[in-house]
């Protein structure tokens, strides 16, 4: 995959691209309650817009082609891959990123459950896991382990072996049901 990308894009091509077809659009996106307005090239993904323009680096980029789930965010309340949306498409949208889950230093119950159940090691996949689980638990407040595994099947973790993540989400479900 890396080969494909680097093999077909030379530095020269990149340089000529940025001069020949430049056009930008002014967009406004509301992220975690704050409105961000910026000029944006159409080629910029929403993930890069969040990370570089908004400075919200909690949204991680693993694969940049939709398969790892690290960049998962909520767009108008539904989960989406931030690497598969162009920022210009999000003009007017309301977005929640992992930074929007905690209230200051107070973790939300899902984050707390990840903490307590060792639901993360290096933490790279965690923002995507949390955002995917947020939607999963909103749709199904009382999932069984198989449903959690299916719900998180689009999110890859290279550290935990998943068991502790599944445990975290089941524990969070219980805490959130009260």
């Amino acid at each position: 995959m890396t080969e494909l990308a680097s093999g077909s894009t030379s530095q020269r091509e990149l340089a000529s691209e940025s001069t020949s077809q430049r056009n930008t659009e002014s967009i406004t996106v509301t992220v975690n309650g704050h409105a961000y307005t910026a000029d944006c090239e159409p080629r910029v993904t929403l993930a890069d817009f969040l990370r570089h323009t908004c400075g919200l680096t909690g949204t991680h980029l693993g694969c940049e082609h939709g398969v790892c789930g690290a960049c998962t965010i909520l767009v108008d309340g539904r989960s989406a891959r931030a690497c598969l949306m162009l920022a210009v498409q999000a003009d007017g949208a309301t977005i929640t990123t992992v930074e929007g889950l905690a209230a200051g230093n107070a973790l939300n119950p899902l984050q707390e459950a990840f903490w307590d159940n060792h639901g993360l090691q290096c933490g790279f996949c965690t923002p995507g896991m949390l955002m995917t689980a947020t939607e999963l638990l909103a749709d199904n407040p009382d999932p069984d382990a198989a449903e959690v595994r299916e719900g998180l099947s689009g999110n890859l973790c290279r550290c935990t072996g998943y068991d502790s993540i599944v445990r975290s989400v089941l524990d969070a479900a219980q805490r959130m049901r009260g």
Binding site: N23, R78, Q89, L136
Partner: protein, 291 residues
């Protein structure tokens, strides 16, 4: 890995989208859910000069019953169709098949039209539309035309659509009440594209003989394949184990799988026959139940 430079236009209606495509020729690409096109751009396998975004065209996302058929607008999100009572009542094969498409997050953005236009031979929706003899509705500079599913897909990632045509929707015949449906797939992991997939619908007459059977397979040719010979072997018969086995035995002559990194052709042939038998068995078992 970032998309190359590209221009971007938001179409307000289908006519505007068609006009933009006509103006820019085959360099222009429709942007629907972006779940296939954006990764292709990031890999630099697609380098459109301009993206024509059809996401904000009103009314392209409808899911409606009309005169014995189900109409799905091209921009209906896969997840919305999966959860739609209207779709489930008319074509229960749809929600079942959609659960195999990627993951919820992919289906939240991915559209029905995008999956059909993309024409991946391993994809589920093209197989469903082919099995049911659906009609694809296209709009171009000269007006609107309908194309039968079996004429729409012409090869891997290719269809009869002209570069200046927009797929506006698909029309599927309603399946009669008490039709049993089944989807069988072999995939490495949940959410992966299937190595082989089979979709089936079976309805039984009061005397227990098959009076409707629809069957298609994915991953067994460069296009989804309607399994006419297997359907013929079952039509009018009582679906005993022997009859199902005989129907599945016809599959070998209907498919042209290729060897690839995922599986050799011989394996796909073996699996296709097995999955057809399983899917038919499951569909028969589920038929007769009121929905």
């Amino acid at each position: 890995m970032k998309p190359p430079a590209v221009r971007y236009a938001r179409a307000g209606d289908v006519r505007e989208a068609v006009a933009l495509l006509a103006e820019h020729g085959s360099d222009a690409k429709v942007l629907a859910g972006g779940q296939s096109l954006v990764p292709l751009m990031s890999f630099r396998l697609a380098r459109p000069s301009i993206l024509v975004d059809i996401n904000r065209i009103g009314g392209l996302d409808r899911i409606e019953q009309d005169n014995g058929s189900l109409l799905i607008g091209a921009m209906a999100r896969q997840r919305d169709v999966e959860l739609s009572d209207v779709a489930a009542a008319a074509v229960p094969l749809l929600p079942q098949a959609l659960r195999y498409v990627g993951h919820v997050t992919i289906r939240n953005r991915g559209t029905v039209g995008g999956s059909l236009a993309h024409a991946d031979p391993a994809a589920e929706l093209p197989a469903v539309v082919t099995a049911l003899g659906g009609e694809l509705v296209l709009e171009g500079p000269g007006g609107t035309r309908s194309v039968a599913a079996e004429d729409f897909f012409t090869g891997t990632f290719t269809t009869v659509m002209a570069p200046d045509e927009v797929l506006v929707g698909v029309r599927l015949p309603r399946l009669p009440d008490r039709t049993g449906v089944a989807v069988e797939e072999l995939a490495r992991r949940h959410g992966d594209f299937a190595i082989v997939g089979v979709v089936a619908a079976v309805h039984l007459a009061d005397d227990g003989t098959v009076d409707l059977v629809r069957l298609a397979a994915s991953g067994v040719d460069s296009v989804p394949v309607r399994l006419h010979a297997a359907e013929a072997a079952l039509s009018g018969a009582r679906p005993t184990a022997d009859v199902l086995e005989a129907a599945a035995a016809t599959v070998d002559a209907s498919i042209h799988p290729a060897d690839d990194v995922h599986a050799p052709a011989s394996y796909r042939r073996h699996v296709a026959r097995l999955l057809v038998q399983r899917a038919l068995g499951a569909a028969v078992e589920r038929s007769g139940v009121e929905r």
